[in-house]
Symmetry: C2
Subunit: 353 residues, 2 copies
């Protein structure tokens, strides 16, 4: 069973502190939305904006619309690249707008319910994505992945690692090669940790070793997540992903992207329009508190890169697998989702009483 | 002026402890050859086998041939990939063999002289290589390099960084992008340190960022060193080099290899024949003493990879620049060197009295 990353408990948000993994498993309790926003910015967790907003909504009084807007803007300012952050904020804004004539108590309950629904939907979507993705994985495969697109990056099942879990649940014997993903080492710290915990065989390498392994024929496919995928199928993901795609292309190794519908941004035509977050130099010059570079050295620290659509073999969503030409198939999958969402909006709410 | 890496001082070997850089600049004094061999194995320094053997020769008595052979074998067992280690040992063996009828005192003096000659020749060769390489570098270029092929990797000028220094000495304005080179971080710890010390502009990145920079058009050329280059031009170098070559090829960026003649192994027909050292898992699971991966996780840690000849734009030696077809031009350059060495052997010795 994959780790529970984020939980709503008695009006508070409980989250695992990912910065301390893998050597310490510490859960932190947040009772103020600003703490949750800071935790997202500091990479204590990824995601969690909806629960953070629900937490903020507990303090609504007076000019509720103004205060709610401030809360939403606080979360929007945490990180620029991942689009599902904005998507989640948008959903919370919609619930607020539709119900702003109601009492603060009712609003709070509705927002809390929406956040919990999104959490459950996220797990369900990941499981569905995992099942679709598993059909692409051969028995005996060695899957190379980058960074962490696992339980720790989502509500609890994972996207890229959801495909790995889906393959395992389908009875396939697979093993994973995890790139460590400098500078923040999510591969070494998080992916290796959660796969080991699930007893899925994993081998850790540094980012520069992937090419050598592909050259030696030891990689069956690459499976990565995405923070935002543009309408044409260009994929923004953790820095280093583009390099893996170029290497996979040279070796004719399939390159799969696990992309929940919420991470596909049809408003963004091409990858070059996706804002790329630059993070503090200290992540590069230090590992935890250990200085590894000369003081004052100039550093470039982009957190993401963009893989052009042409290098992507297929994009796996919870609604199915999009193949080339990605632009067309992605639009169809997302549209299918939108029409379904409209139809299901009320029934889903009723179900959650 | 580049740092002095290794010195012979009053019958001892003094070396900078590269493991402590960049935060501490510590020089260690070695008086026993086994300590020098251990230092090479533990990556306190690279190179230095000749001075280590000369140090060992100071203790020769009794069955000198047997003892000398044991010393040489100790150094041959330190690291398998870099061929100039074996080349240096071979030169020391040749001096011993030619003079083994002489007294222990004379032998010791001749071996010490040979080690010092090799040291000086190394610096001279690097300077010459740097001058040849500088002709390939355009004014205003941004040179991406990997690991450390600088003063710290040689007797004191560098091969890849020798080309950078050569370009600077030729009046060109250049800047360097240094890949950190996980796991051992020679780029962050050594390259950034020695370039900063020489006031050559340097920007540090993690290994996964190179592709993104090339994609954005921010790299003019790649210049790397080599631990061994095969007869056909396949290049073994620090793990991660192959990835940079594939990326450079995709972006039509020139990929240059700085290869002293002593690193070209004509006895090795192709790169796949080059033994690739695997180093301890701890280098990947830890950064200095800090654990960054779950305890007991499986690790793969090859220290080198092989870049196929076809991805190499040119190989720069101290005798000139070899272009495609590399196999033919390399053989010519090395042969030229061998005939010159024969001719110069006696005069050089006389010069060094």
């Amino acid at each position: 069973m994959a780790v529970r990353t984020i939980e709503w408990k008695n009006g508070r948000v409980v989250m695992i502190d990912q910065r301390l993994l893998p050597t310490r498993e510490v859960y932190r309790v947040y009772s103020h939305y600003r703490e949750v926003a800071a935790a997202i910015k500091d990479m204590v967790v990824r995601g969690a904006p909806a629960m953070g907003i629900a937490l903020g909504a507990r303090g609504l009084k007076g000019d509720m619309a103004r205060d709610f807007d401030r809360i939403c803007r606080t979360f929007a300012a945490t990180r620029p690249t991942a689009v599902n952050l904005f998507w989640a904020i948008q959903r919370m804004r919609r619930v607020f707008k539709r119900n702003q004539h109601r009492s603060a108590d009712t609003l709070r309950t509705l927002l809390e319910r929406e956040a919990l629904a999104m959490h459950d939907e996220d797990v369900a979507a990941n499981r569905s994505l995992g099942r679709h993705g598993a059909t692409l994985i051969e028995d005996g495969a060695t899957i190379l992945t980058h960074c962490n697109a696992g339980a720790l990056a989502t509500a609890g099942y994972g996207t890229a690692l959801g495909i790995v879990r889906g393959a395992v649940e389908a009875g396939k014997r697979v093993q994973v090669i995890a790139c460590e993903a400098r500078p923040f080492l999510q591969g070494a710290r998080l992916t290796a940790w959660e796969l080991k915990r699930d007893r899925i065989p994993v081998t850790l390498i540094t980012d520069g070793m992937a090419g050598h392994l592909m050259q030696r024929g030891r990689v069956s496919c690459v499976v990565v997540g995405t923070d935002r995928t543009a309408a044409n199928g260009d994929v923004a993901n953790k820095i280093g992903t583009y390099t893996l795609a170029v290497l996979a292309h040279r070796h004719a190794i399939p390159f799969y992207v696990a992309a929940p519908i919420s991470s596909i941004d049809l408003d963004c035509p091409r990858g070059e329009k996706i804002p790329i977050e630059e993070r503090p130099p200290r992540e590069v010059t230090h590992v935890f508190d250990r200085q590894i570079a000369p003081s004052g050295v100039r550093v470039f620290n982009p957190a993401f890169d963009v893989t052009p659509s042409e290098l992507v073999t297929a994009i796996v969503t919870e609604r199915g697998v999009a193949r080339q030409p990605l632009g067309r198939t992605l639009a169809r999958l997302v549209a299918g989702d939108a029409s379904r969402r409209e139809r299901k909006l009320e029934p889903r709410k009723q179900r959650r009483r």
